[in-house]
């Protein structure tokens, strides 16, 4: 059957692409780390803007703090923890994975599993 070949090939290609994608992540410089971290933080004095995108005084201060802490060698997690203690979870655009948010994070994947099951059950396996 032609079509099953097609999809097997497709799968192999996708998997091999995925494999290539996991190249090194290590050598990022400080500025890029500041960027990726501050993009996930809310500017508390603006309306729906990330700290990275905003030029408000608050954001500039946080950018400086983040940079200093990264230079000191603190990890992203430590910095986020520090900021949450100071400003509350509201500052994080990426909600923490904790007890309160477990439903938020698991919901899409539960739905996806249901969806996959639905398709698998409904699709006929007979050959045409």
């Amino acid at each position: 059957m032609k079509s099953s070949h097609f999809f097997r090939n497709l799968q192999i290609i996708i998997l091999s692409c995925m494999f290539f994608c996991f190249k090194t992540f290590a050598n990022e410089n400080i500025d890029e780390r500041v960027k990726s971290l501050t993009l996930e933080l809310r500017c508390m004095t603006c309306q729906n803007q990330s700290i990275y995108d905003s030029d408000a005084e608050f954001s500039n201060d946080i950018k400086k703090i983040v940079k200093q802490k990264l230079q000191k060698g603190e990890s992203d997690r430590d910095i986020k923890k520090f900021l949450v203690e100071r400003y509350g979870e509201y500052i994080l655009f990426r909600p923490l994975v904790n007890y309160n948010n477990i439903f938020l994070w698991s919901f899409p994947f539960i739905l996806l599993i249901f969806g996959v099951f639905f398709i698998l059950i409904k699709i006929k396996r007979k050959k045409v």
Partner: protein, 620 residues
């Protein structure tokens, strides 16, 4: 005077709709008369809307709403757009668009008379609900109790040509789903044949096209007006518009199945109700003031409760009818791995999961605040991590979906696709090693090119190329998908490969952007009609004779004491160069330059999608 005319015609229109509704049970009409009354009430609603607009245009400050939201020295276009630049006016706009849809629906020819009448009666019910909402909680025709010569002005951030037309077009989408909703409910009551599905398809395509245009205008506005170089932020208000858009897309795709398979009517009706419910729910969230954004005008709790009530009535009524009167004919689907039906089913499931995820993410902070009295944010990183991976299999499927067969699982020319995909992935891989390698960038570019590539192969290998209208109708699904592919490339490049350069410079300095020399000519302040403008003037690429002028700066609006930033954008086909003027410190200006590759592809992709939406309307 105009306020009085407006208010009376609004009340009269609601009265006629009551009459139309009762006509089903008590005062029976002939068909001809019934439609005349529908059109008359539509015209009255429009009269009411235009009399409010007239009050804005002549700056009639005896109207409280005009006094609150307008100012006599605004340019005419913003006096007109000021009509819907506030809560009351925008709700009247909502009602007017509802009336326009009813008006045009009353002219539909190829539909059973009693069915058309039932649909229009459901439209009347919606008109009554929203009409009463306007009259009791958001009346734009209140009289100003004090005598004034000047108004308080319109939020300067809304004073922009793109945003002036954004609400009517977006509402065309939101409210357009009201007619799809009414058709679906009528279809549940009177399920005689499949004819109504074709009618529903046309209207849902029209609404979807409007919604696409509205969302695109909104994000284009955010791109050049908010001045941070991005165009999508997963802001709650953006999410709200995206939910009916995705659900509507699922609906349009399900309605395609009417052509091949026997329809899965139940699902279509469910989606139709869902689309309109999401539209009303979005209105509730925005208007109740629960979410803070540019869109939440002066918030008032009673309005929120009223809209919540309407939402429950509409949704409750819709789903109740859905449960009680589900369609009788339910055929089993011909699902194979993989034919067109199963592809559409998979696509629908993925889209619904995406919609529900966005819904949960948008309301989750509210839930947490109610339960634990704690404020959290659910922003871009969450949606990027959940919605995008969910959609990827759908995008992959999309590239070949239009050529799948309805009945069997054979694919024509499957070898061509496999070889094509293989060559393409190697090419993208090679080029992405020359640029900074980025996983998402790689996936996005590969997907985008693959969709375009596979659609082109499909067009040329499955159909004879002719330049007739019929040909364009047949290849229309492929064209739509090419549009999506182009948009995916634009979205990926502009978000992943954006480059930022910061400068601290003075007038007369030269600096280097992307290998081109830019001259910072001067700073200039001018007085415009209703604002003061501060502009930094740049000359881009001064070595060439035709160097381009770019102006970036800020506007100060004295009436509302607000400052807005005005980005200077140089559009090129393959990148936008985006200048933002910062503050002056130690006699030096801070200038931020963003290089956004392939942003124009996003708008091009959207325009192609809208084009195919319109072409699809013409096809049965």
């Amino acid at each position: 005077m105009s306020s009085l005319v407006g208010f009376l015609s609004l009340v009269f229109a609601i009265g006629i709709n009551f009459y139309l509704f009762l006509s089903r049970y008590i005062f029976k009409f002939q068909k001809h008369k019934f439609n005349l009354f529908v059109r008359f009430s539509s015209l009255l609603t429009l009269l009411s809307f235009f009399s409010l607009m007239y009050a804005y245009v002549v700056s009639d400050f005896s109207n409280y709403n005009v006094f609150q939201n307008s100012h006599s020295n605004k340019p005419l276009i913003y006096k007109i757009s000021g009509t819907w630049g506030n809560h009351e006016g925008s709700m009247l706009l909502w009602l007017s668009i509802l009336s326009i849809f009813s008006f045009f629906f009353s002219f539909t020819k190829n539909i059973e008379e009693s069915f058309q009448r039932l649909t229009l009666i459901i439209q009347s019910l919606l008109h009554i609900l929203f009409g009463l909402f306007i009259v009791f909680t958001s009346n734009p025709f209140l009289v100003n109790s004090i005598l004034v010569n000047e108004g308080l002005g319109l939020n300067p951030i809304l004073q922009d040509p793109g945003l002036a037309v954004h609400p009517p077009i977006l509402y065309g989408g939101y409210v357009g789903y009201s007619i799809v909703f009414s058709i679906a409910i009528a279809g549940l009551f009177q399920d005689r044949d499949d004819e109504w599905l074709y009618v529903a398809k046309k209207w849902s395509l029209i609404s979807w096209t409007f919604l696409t245009g509205g969302i695109a205008l909104g994000s284009y506005w955010a791109y050049y007006e908010l001045g941070w170089g991005g165009w999508w932020f997963w802001d709650p208000v953006e999410n709200i518009s995206l939910m009916p858009w995705i659900a509507g897309l699922a609906l349009v795709h399900s309605l395609m199945m009417v052509r091949g398979e026997q329809a899965i009517k139940k699902w279509i009706v469910f989606l139709s109700i869902l689309c309109f419910s999401l539209s009303v729910f979005g209105t509730f969230l925005v208007r109740s003031g629960i979410l803070t954004s540019v869109h939440s005008f002066a918030a008032d709790a009673s309005r929120g409760i009223f809209i919540l009530l309407i939402f429950f009535i509409v949704t409750g009524f819709g789903f109740l009818v859905f449960l009680l009167k589900e369609p009788k004919k339910s055929n089993t689907l011909n699902l194979l791995f993989i034919n067109k039906v199963s592809a559409i089913v998979i696509n629908n499931i993925l889209m619904i999961i995406a919609t529900l995820t966005i819904l949960l993410g948008t309301i989750y902070p509210i839930i947490i605040e109610v339960l634990y009295n704690k404020r959290i944010s659910v922003g871009g990183p969450y949606f990027n991590a959940t919605v995008i991976p969910i959609m990827i299999p759908g995008f992959l499927l999309m590239s070949i979906a239009p050529i799948l067969s309805w009945q069997t699982n054979k694919i024509q020319n499957s070898k061509k696709y496999v070889i094509g995909f293989f060559i393409l992935s190697i090419m993208v891989l090679i080029q992405s090693y020359f640029l900074d390698f980025n996983t998402w960038g790689f996936i996005g570019i590969l997907l985008g090119f693959w969709i375009i590539f596979a659609s082109i192969i499909a067009i040329f290998s499955s159909y004879k190329v002719k330049f007739t209208i019929k040909f364009f109708q047949i290849v229309n699904p492929h064209i739509a998908h090419i549009g999506v592919g182009i948009a995916i490339i634009g979205i990926t490049c502009s978000s992943v490969f954006q480059n930022e350069l910061d400068f601290n410079i003075n007038e007369g300095d030269k600096f280097n952007v992307n290998g081109k020399t830019v001259l910072f000519e001067k700073i200039e302040t001018t007085n415009q009609i209703n604002f003061q403008a501060l502009r930094a003037k740049f000359l881009f690429d001064i070595e060439k004779n035709q160097s381009k002028k770019i102006e970036a700066g800020k506007n100060y609006y004295p009436v509302s004491k607000m400052i807005t930033s005005e980005a200077g954008i140089l559009h090129q086909w393959n990148k936008d160069i985006y200048f933002i003027l910062g503050d002056q410190k130690n006699d030096e200006w801070f200038v931020k330059v963003l290089i956004n590759p392939f942003v124009s592809f996003i708008w091009l992709g959207v325009i192609i999608m809208m084009y195919s939406g319109l072409i699809a309307v013409t096809r049965r």
